[in-house]
């Protein structure tokens, strides 16, 4: 395993009201690696990654015990602002959710909100992030058009570009390809592999083949517990736990 830990979950228990969704989960997220979380529906994997940028605190009646760290710092400490964590830890969802604005403004928005006013800087940053998100060639002539006119795959890459513009450090992907066709899925996967050079990536996916293809580490969740975590290659060739084996060979779930 790698040594460089970017984020760390320490004895995480999480409740929706009286229902316990996560049970004593410990997990390390390594820098510049792709970590995939797999497991059947309702196993807690999405709930789990939403803790990494404090998304769950927006839901009433939830309770968290345990700690989540980024670079050794407790992300839930009172001296840290949620918006700051969400800038450092970006998120891309299952359904692409561009703002109903132009392609250009979708990316410039985050910069402006962060107080950047220099137009040249913003323009340069928009071009740079669109290139990084492998979208530039497809949209360079239509930056002023509405982002809603883009295809699903392009919208998803725009959402990724939006994270990159604000100098995020970690990108959380929650089923990023669930609503995309195989070609767009391939582009997103290729992009994830490119992005890991500069970012730390966590991806939740139902698609086990996708987890196998893109990730360096894989964690298998079941009924709120992290059953097994290890190098992707080991998980998919020689899982240690019988439940992991049963799940990845399609025998349940």
């Amino acid at each position: 395993m790698d040594n460089d830990i970017k984020m760390k979950a320490d004895k995480i228990n999480f409740f929706y009201g009286n229902t316990q969704a996560l049970k004593s989960v410990d997990l390390n997220i390594f820098s510049n690696r792709v970590t995939a979380l797999i497991g059947p529906s309702g196993c807690g994997k999405s709930t789990f990654i939403r803790l990494f940028n404090r998304m769950n605190e927006l839901i009433a009646g939830t309770k968290l015990t345990g700690k989540i760290y980024i670079d050794g710092e407790d992300i839930n400490s009172p001296c840290i602002e949620a918006v700051d964590i969400r800038r450092r830890v970006g998120m891309v969802f299952q359904k692409p959710n561009p703002f109903p604005k132009s392609i250009f403004d979708n990316i410039a928005y985050g910069l402006r909100v962060n107080g950047i006013k220099n137009k040249d800087f913003i323009e340069e940053k928009v071009v740079q992030t669109l290139k990084k998100a492998a979208l530039w060639e497809e949209v360079k002539c239509r930056l002023k058009e509405s982002a809603l006119g883009l295809s699903g795959g392009q919208q998803q890459r725009l959402c990724i570009a939006r994270c990159l513009a604000v100098e995020t450090e970690v990108i959380l992907f929650d089923e990023p390809c669930a609503s995309l066709d195989p070609i767009s899925t391939g582009k997103i996967e290729e992009l994830i592999l490119e992005l890991k050079k500069d970012y730390t990536i966590v991806i939740v996916t139902h698609n086990m083949q996708q987890a196998a293809r893109v990730s360096d580490y894989t964690g298998f969740f079941l009924l709120g517990e992290l059953i097994e975590f290890g190098r992707t290659q080991d998980i998919f060739t020689a899982p240690k736990d019988k439940r992991t084996e049963a799940y990845i060979t399609g025998r349940f779930g």
Binding site: G186, E190, T237
Partner: protein, 222 residues
């Protein structure tokens, strides 16, 4: 996704080529050590074997990893699965080169039973076949692969001739020659086995390139 997968396939290809280079080197040195009866050269081959065993495991693991993680299809699937088999064949070839070297180190300081004629000929057939097998893999060249399969009977004939001579002209006539004849008999057998492994590689290459099974089906060669 294809781009990264292609890079990984290229990487696997390079590792198999490295194994091939080790195999060619091991055979070359084992034959040289025999010709020169040079124990040090024989020891070099014997001592290098650990490194090669490690590479065999690395290649096997890589193949398994690619299958598990990328669910390869068609030509990619054939390349990876035959890559695994070729890896094993090459490693066996190197093991046999080590066997030859062990026999050489036994006989190195004894006078030769007879001047070696057919054994060097068989050795050069074996060396040539392995070289061609690796070439056919590198160039995905089935014509070369087919040629190798035809050479295999030459190797068998040479081995039989060597065996007949050593047994009938020496061991039967004078039992005292056995300690010097048996290592030569074994070396001939080892060289012929190397040719068999080269033939297996050729069959694997034909399957990889054309998806044709010629193993146990010689009629498919036409």
């Amino acid at each position: 996704m294809v781009k990264h997968f292609d890079e990984e396939l290229q990487d696997l290809n390079n590792q198999i080529l490295k194994m091939g280079a080790f195999a060619e080197e091991a055979i070359f040195k084992s034959i040289e050590s025999l010709r020169e009866r040079d124990r040090n050269k024989a020891l070099e081959v014997i001592n290098n074997d650990k490194l090669i065993d490690e590479l065999e495991l690395v290649i096997d693991e890589k193949c398994l990893d690619l299958i598990a993680r990328h669910q390869p299809m068609a030509g990619d699937l054939r390349f990876i699965t035959t890559g695994m088999k070729i890896n094993a064949e090459l490693e066996r070839i190197i093991d046999i080169a080590v066997d030859i070297c062990q026999r050489v180190s036994e006989i190195a300081d004894k006078p030769l039973l007879k001047p070696l004629v057919d054994i060097p000929r068989l050795a050069s057939v074996a060396q040539g076949m392995v070289k061609m097998a690796i070439d056919s893999f590198v160039k995905r060249d089935i014509q070369t692969a087919k040629k190798i399969m035809l050479l295999d009977s030459d190797a068998d004939n040479l081995r039989n001739a060597i065996q007949k001579e050593l047994i009938e002209d020496y061991m039967v006539k004078d039992g005292q020659t056995a300690p010097r004849a048996v290592p030569l008999l074994l070396i001939a057998r080892f060289l012929e086995r190397i040719c068999d492994h080269a033939t297996n590689i050729a069959e694997d290459v034909i399957y990889m390139v054309e998806a044709k099974v010629v193993k146990h089906h010689p009629e498919e060669l036409k």
